[in-house]
């Protein structure tokens, strides 16, 4: 069974009287441990598809099955709980909380778990070690470079040991060197930690680091 099963998904956005169909009957399977790159022009529906897989948006029709759960069928509260246990999200602009240190940012999702402060900090430090930033644990985001911020964001995404990592243009705001480091890190997470990764990118070099690339154009997937 695939880790991600998207079947007949349709997504329509409504703006006043205007209905915009972004995805229309889309099917997609992502196997466990796969590293998939989704490419395509702006407005092709990449981020919409990523949001549906991550459970932060709901399809207008069709089903999205992730790690055996029909995400679209979950209530708001159940979906939030499901996200915290199953999905790690990596944003293009990192979206770290500026008032928190790197360690606190990474430990943020663990506030939802029944863990002591010590346990939360230990797990956060483990995640920071994996991304190579244990020595920056007490630094605030503004004291970090863009590449380091993204690594902290990745640590935050993996700290709950999710089954799936979704990344929306994870290198889109980085210079070439930092982008390379981030891609290497994602490759490690996929290869060594068996994380299933779905990554949206515009960058063909970034896409080449994935095991499989798919192109999305006007809501239609092309191999």
């Amino acid at each position: 069974m695939a880790m991600v099963e998207v079947r007949g998904v349709r997504k329509v956005y409504r703006r006043d009287a205007l209905a915009i169909t972004v995805l229309d009957g889309l099917d997609l399977d992502v196997q466990e441990g796969e590293f998939l790159a989704l490419m395509g022009p702006s407005g092709s529906g990449k981020t919409t598809l990523l949001n549906l897989i991550a459970g932060i948006d709901r399809p207008t029709a069709g089903s999205v099955q992730v790690a055996g759960t029909n995400v679209a069928a979950l209530s708001e509260g159940a979906l939030a709980r499901w996200r915290s246990h199953n999905v790690g999200f990596i944003f293009q602009f990192y979206n770290l909380i500026p008032v928190l240190t790197a360690e606190e940012n990474v430990a943020l999702p663990l506030l939802l778990e029944r863990l002591s402060r010590k346990e939360r900090n230990e797990r956060a430090m483990t995640a920071l070690k994996i991304v190579g930033l244990a020595d920056r644990a007490k630094h605030s985001p503004r004291q970090l470079s863009g590449g380091q911020e993204q690594r902290v964001a990745i640590a935050r995404a993996i700290v709950g040991d999710p089954k799936v990592l979704v990344a929306d243009e994870p290198t889109g705001d980085l210079d070439a060197k930092s982008a390379e480091e981030i891609l290497t890190l994602m490759d490690t997470l996929n290869r060594d930690f068996r994380k299933t990764i779905v990554m949206v990118t515009h960058d063909p070099r970034a896409a080449q680091r994935a095991r499989r690339q798919l192109h999305l154009d006007k809501g239609i997937l092309q191999a």
Binding site: N51, A54, I56, D57, E76, G77, A80, R81, W82, R83, S84, H85, F89, F91, F93, N95, I97, P98, V99, L100, E104, L108, P109, L111, L112, R117, R156, G160
Partner: protein, 391 residues
Amino acid sequence: MKYLPYILKHLKRHWVRSLLTVLAMTFCIFVFCVLQAFLAALQRGLDSTNANRLVTRNAVSLVFNLPVTYKERIAGVPGVQRVCAQNWFGGARKAGDFKDFFPNMAVEAEPFLEMSPEYILTEEQKRAWLESQTGCIIGPATAEKYGWKVGSTFQLESFIPPYRASKPFEFTIAAIYATDDKRFPGTDKTIMFFHRKYLDEATGRQVGVGTFAVQIADKTQAGAICRAIDNLFENSERQTHTETEKQFLASFLSMAGNLALLLNWIGLAVIFVILLVTANTMSMAVRERRTEMGVLKTLGFSSGKVMGLVLAEAGLLGALGGAIGILFSTGMIRVLAMAPNVGPVVQGLGGLPGPVALAGFALALGIGLIAGLAPAVAAYRAHITDLLRHV
């Protein structure tokens, strides 16, 4: 509690804004607590009045005295048990120095002691007072304030012209009365009473009577007796106005208008303004953090939890301001207790009343939560994709 550091860090992010909001809330709760404490003190005074006592005064104004001869005629009204002539002396250790003031009254000692069981004296103390022409009895709070004991002497000078003599009045403390807060709650612990005849003798003239305290047998007959007394003097040059002791005190307090209403309106106006200030702070805080709210929801925080964090932040602002406001108002009540004019009124409270402090804290928390409600609901309802799009 595990979210507290997170909330505190957010409040620290714009610390000037947070501090100003807390200070605004502090001011609001300070004003509320001081006004309510003052009202509580006034109410306490009203509650301490005796329903079996009436007060007869000049119908035109308290400023004008009544003839001493009225006493016998009032005493003859059916239902009247006892009458005591009394004058508000208005004496201070230095005439007109209200920074160093405690209330003092000239009374007819015998009827006064009979009809004022709230001022507790032993038979020996009563006798000591009755036998001393310049003797007086004082409240325990005043005795403590000045370090006076039985036998201590002091001088007072009145600022009221008819009560001024060629030299200050000399007094000797005959007794320090006791009070019983259970039987007679709100009894003034500061007031001093001395012999009325000393007032006449020292001034060398009949100064007249400020008010007559009238003890009646049946409090249900108070209305009828008040009318009967006033009817006696209806055609006199100096007409009287008689009312219950509680009504007298209330009307005395309301000479500056409806004080309670005025104070409550001031309090409400301040609360409303602070509500707007806090609501504005919270709206700005949430608007600036839309993306962050989206991130929290993406990480698995439910909409309810995000709403709770916003409300907790607003509530914490309110609670902090409330706690500081209560501290300041506690200090202010202590300062007021030492002030000349309001001091005697406030002293009886013995500090900020617990219910007022509790109400102040609840109000602060309530203002914070109400102010945070609209942005919290907005955060609750906002969809993750909309929040994240706001970058």
